[in-house]
Subunit: 228 residues, 2 copies
DNA sequence: TGACGATGTCACGAGCTTGTAACATTTGCT
DNA sequence: AGCAAATGTTACAAGCTCGTGACATCGTCA
């Protein structure tokens, strides 16, 4: 994984507990005792996910979530809310505000990790560290290694991300625009044809293993990763 | 999906949020801050769906919807209205004016996407990603693949769109003009006989699977996709 | 600083798509 | 049968898409 996770929780003991667990799971915890502090942190660096206590002193969790959703820069950040009571009302309101999941205290570290992983996978499967293995190709985000039919494949950073995205979204055509948004990042402005060039570089790197046929062109539409 | 969706919303933050989510879902957002601006956009290019805030400065959402419904060119465009209060009165008036659905703020991206999909499925099934399977033919918009009796079928972009439209509107004769409007697009001017040529190409591509008989000629009227 | 890898852009050419016209065939009707 | 309209079929030129190699730039690291 190796995600940066912002923990917004006013109870020090719980905050500490969560932070410890996140570290154990290989994440990078950022801590905030309240929403204001959290906003400051977010202003400086975008976390990959936010664990948000619903009951906070001062600015409430709901309000904080709203603000994240209101700002273009932070809109896409997944939010998991922590709620003390298993109150259905809270849950509903939270999901409406845009939380991706919620978890009721008390919770086990195992459950927390599972939900984090699930949310990361849902929001951006290519963000997780899960190894992807398809049609003879094996891509391991953790070690940043790719092998085709057992042979190592050398890829540049962009080609690696591109392949990772394609392998986590197979059997589906992606337009150049979509690939630019997903692999290069939104807000980046780059020529569409640049995608072609990186597809070319990716294929070239895969050629020695004859796996370049997995990356397919769909004329007039875009590209597709397919094992057929 | 890949629908062009016009968002008419005066609140910049909400407009931005919606546009972002639409993009994530694979749609192409068009934005307007008010009804006048929206009318201009519609004059240039027809969107596939309109998300319309009910409370707008200047020309109201209701009035805008009326105008869309009054013009033959825009009458068929599905409208989903966004309403701040869960006011029954608004809802009723909206549905009477011809809105296809309504959604009450605040709403989750998930809910918005679900409603968009539902409306598109009802009004313009060829805009969704749903796989179509009929009479031995299988067409999957997501992977952009067609198979007939299990065998892959190679189609050019236009033939693909044509077949997709026919398969989502079966047992019904479409005139050449209708096909040009629906498959080629609104403002395109092309000879009617061109449709014949593409029908021919489509049939030829289907011949190897003996499924070309599904595309039928209705003399003096147009073409029809039928499993009988 | 200099070398090197990574990246984005461009230009060129091969090959595919597409709209049209021209010709062939079928259909419906008298 | 004979005719006219509608449709099927083919060929082709123009335009567009995509693959590909070349190149300039930028940041990094020794």
């Amino acid at each position: 994984m190796a995600a940066t996770i912002l923990v917004v929780e006013d109870e020090p003991a719980i905050q500490e507990l969560i932070a410890y667990n996140l570290k154990q799971a290989g994440h990078q915890p950022l801590r905030a005792d309240n929403a204001e502090q959290a906003l400051h942190l977010v202003a400086n660096a975008l976390p990959d996910l936010v664990l948000l206590d619903w009951m906070l002193p001062g600015l409430s969790g709901i309000e904080f979530a709203r603000r994240l959703r209101a700002d273009k820069r932070t809109r896409a950040i997944p939010i998991i809310m922590l709620t003390a009571r298993s109150d259905e009302q809270d849950k509903l309101q939270g999901l409406e505000t845009g939380a991706d999941d919620y978890i009721t205290k008390p919770f086990s570290p195992r459950e927390l990790n599972a939900r984090i992983k699930a949310v990361l996978r849902r929001r951006a499967p290519e963000m997780t560290d899960d190894m992807v293995q398809l049609g003879g190709l094996k891509l391991d985000p953790a070690s940043h290694r790719v092998t085709g039919n057992g042979e190592p494949v050398e890829l540049g950073p962009t080609e690696f991300r591109l392949l990772h995205f394609l392998m986590t979204h197979t059997e589906r055509v992606h337009s150049r625009t979509q690939l630019l948004d997903q692999v290069w990042g939104d807000h980046v402005f780059v020529e569409e044809r640049t995608v072609d060039v990186h597809i070319r570089r990716l294929r070239k790197a895969l050629e020695p293993t004859r796996l370049d046929s997995l990356v397919q062109t769909v004329r007039g539409t875009g590209y597709r990763f397919s094992t057929n």
